[in-house]
Structures are given as C-alpha cells and as structure tokens.
C-alpha cells in the first residue's frame, strides 16, 4: 500500500496550520498514538517554518505525505535560498539560542530525518516515523 497526499502552500505563516492539520489527520488515520501525532504535527510545523524563513523570493513550497503500511514519510520542499548544513550546529539551551531550534526539534521527534540543501538551491527535508 502506498498513498500520497500532495500540497502546495503559499510561503506565508498563516497557512502553516493547514499543513499541521493535514499531518494530524494523516497520522491519526494511520493509527499513531496521540503523543506521536503531536510529535509529527510539530515536526511538520517546524519544517514548514523552515521553508518559509528560507523561502527568499519563492512564493510557494510543497509538502508530500507518503503513507506506507508501516511508515509515514513527509517531504517538505522549498526552492528558496537554502542554507549551509555545515554551519548548522545543535543549539545549546544555556546559550539561549533563538534560532536553529526548529531542526533540532525535528531531529529529536522523528525516527529518521534527511536534509538536502545548499545555498541558493532550496531545501528538501525528508522525515519519517514508523508505525509501532
């Protein structure tokens, strides 16, 4: 079984909740427990935030929710400015970092996360969660 849901959203904060609601709906449909649904919703929200913050002049970004029998994979793709993954480091709470927390949260909450990005080329975040 493989089904996928595709969306294209304007790169604007007011539409992120559409992606989050879709994430909740799909995760619920696949039988994830409530705590995991919250985790997936937040990870999707953070990936959308990332797409918007790095969107540059690009007016939209894309999401794909891929339902497999034992796994939910979500891809968030923007064609914005991208960023240098080498320069990214895990924020230290003691330093009270205000940025960089988003990726850290995504990596903490999802089972696997891949990030394809380079400066000027946009960003693709592929994350998945296994159905227990």
């Amino acid at each position: 079984m493989r089904e996928s849901i595709n969306m294209s959203l304007p790169s604007k904060p007011e539409y992120v909740s559409v992606a989050r609601l879709t994430a909740s709906f799909v995760a619920n449909q696949m039988g994830f427990d409530i705590e995991t649904i919250e985790d997936i919703k937040l990870a999707v929200g953070e990936a959308c935030n990332n797409a918007i913050l790095h969107s540059g002049s690009d007016e939209t970004y894309k999401l794909e929710f891929i339902k497999l029998s034992d796994n939910l994979t979500i891809e968030v793709i923007d064609h914005g400015k991208g960023f240098s993954i080498e320069k990214y480091k895990k924020p230290e709470a003691e330093e009270l970092q205000e940025s960089g927390l988003g990726l850290f949260i995504i990596k903490s909450l999802m089972d696997s996360v891949e990030i394809e990005t380079s400066e000027g080329q946009g960003t693709k975040i592929i994350m998945s969660k296994i159905v227990e």
Partner: protein
C-alpha cells in the same frame, strides 16, 4: 485556531499574569511579542504565563519567550510557567528550556 491572550496585573503578587490560549507559532508570535513588550513597558515586574489552555508551541514561539526572558532578566525579574500540558512540557524539556524557565505544574 490562533492565539488569544488574557492579561492581568496581580497587585498582591506584584506580577503580570498572561494566559496563553491556543497556539504560539510562526503566525501568532509577532502579536505575542508586541503585547509582552507593551506590558513590560507599562510596568516592569515578574511574569507568570498560565498555560492550561496552551495547545501548541513551536520553535519560533519559544524564540519569542527566550528573547523576552532576556529582557525581563535585565531588571532582575523572572518568568514563570504554570500548568503546561504534557505535550508542551515535552518540548520545554527537549530544548532544555525547563532548566532556564521556572515551571510550576
């Protein structure tokens, strides 16, 4: 759902009480930031965030709270969080903010 705020100055506790209702995210963070700065300009004191009805917070919302905390700390005031839902407390713990903010559940 978006964010709704109830604010009140508690004279006996000498602190601002801010009830967060709904979602603190990329869409509502600017409104929250403006409101907090206004309150702190009106009267510099401790802040108590009532989170019983806070349903969602993301890294941009946490960013607003972190920078606001830095402002408040300059005047030797503190920031407290009350009654966080388990899903929200999890994010505070994950990001290490539970060691920076005072959390009363």
């Amino acid at each position: 759902m978006s964010l709704r705020l109830n604010t009140n100055y508690n004279e006996s506790e000498k602190s601002w009480e801010v009830e967060l209702i709904g979602e603190v995210d990329i869409n509502s963070k600017a409104a929250l930031k403006d409101e907090l700065i206004q309150l702190n300009d009106k009267r510099q004191s401790d802040f108590v965030f009532k989170c019983e009805n806070l349903e969602y917070i993301d890294s941009t919302g946490l960013g607003v709270l972190i920078s606001f905390y830095k402002n408040v700390k300059i005047n030797n005031n503190t920031v407290h969080f009350e009654k966080l839902k388990p899903s929200i407390l999890k994010i505070f713990t994950l990001t290490g903010l539970d060691r920076i903010f005072s959390i009363r559940n």
